[in-house]
Subunit: 153 residues, 2 copies
Amino acid sequence: MISPTAEYALRAVVAIAQAGGDAVVTPTLAEITKVPPGYLPKVLQTLRRAGLLISKRGLGGGFTLARAPEQITVIDVVNCVQPIKRIERCPLHIDAHDATLCPLHRRLDEAAEMVMNSFAATTISELLEDSNDGHPPLCKQAKPLNLRRPGKR
Amino acid sequence: MISPTAEYALRAVVAIAQAGGDAVVTPTLAEITKVPPGYLPKVLQTLRRAGLLISKRGLGGGFTLARAPEQITVIDVVNCVQPIKRIERCPLHIDAHDATLCPLHRRLDEAAEMVMNSFAATTISELLEDSNDGHPPLCKQAKPLNLRRPGKR
């Protein structure tokens, strides 16, 4: 449905969001997200360049979200790395008939639109809602992760 | 949303369906569908092996649908070449927590389900409904194609 890269980007954003504002370093993100080591830095840099992440160097550095998780949607993340393609013009390149898609491409475009709307209606904060079993929301780990500093939410 | 191969398969099935029961040869399908020459025979053989197409050799030969276009859905075609993947188990391979997907993967799976349901509810015959301008439905051609033999529907 979405590309592996887009899914990796979503894992990374959710993992950073669930740190509750604390900066998360790449090795920690690699451990949580299980994104292949060669991919993760590229995905993080793409998200940073797109303005979704902030990176800080040095002690206490790492990645944080550039906006609150309530203000980032799934489509924001997906569009950074591999936008869902709408069919706006005839894929058979018949210029004379580009204005109206044929029924086949209209249906395929409707499916793309449906997915885009669903992703646009889902914020990252909604993905943090847990199933109330004390495990982090990204994907429940065998042992709960301790990402937050004591006393911080 | 779907892979190029799946889209090529749909173009081919619609082009064969719009011939109204006449066998269509590969060069004609190549002209109508504009599928890259290297791909089309592979796509057609995949659809034939999956039981969606029948091929006849010799004079008057070519490809026909194995079932009426009312009995073939978009998902039947897509599933032949590149099935839409549902997320049934945790993609992070945490066995202990496979039974319940995390919110992220649940949402992604819901999107896949939504597209599958939409494609399962759309028959090939619905894609043949034209915009009443006399052009074939696949994608309107610059000049109407004469695929049907005189006197045949």
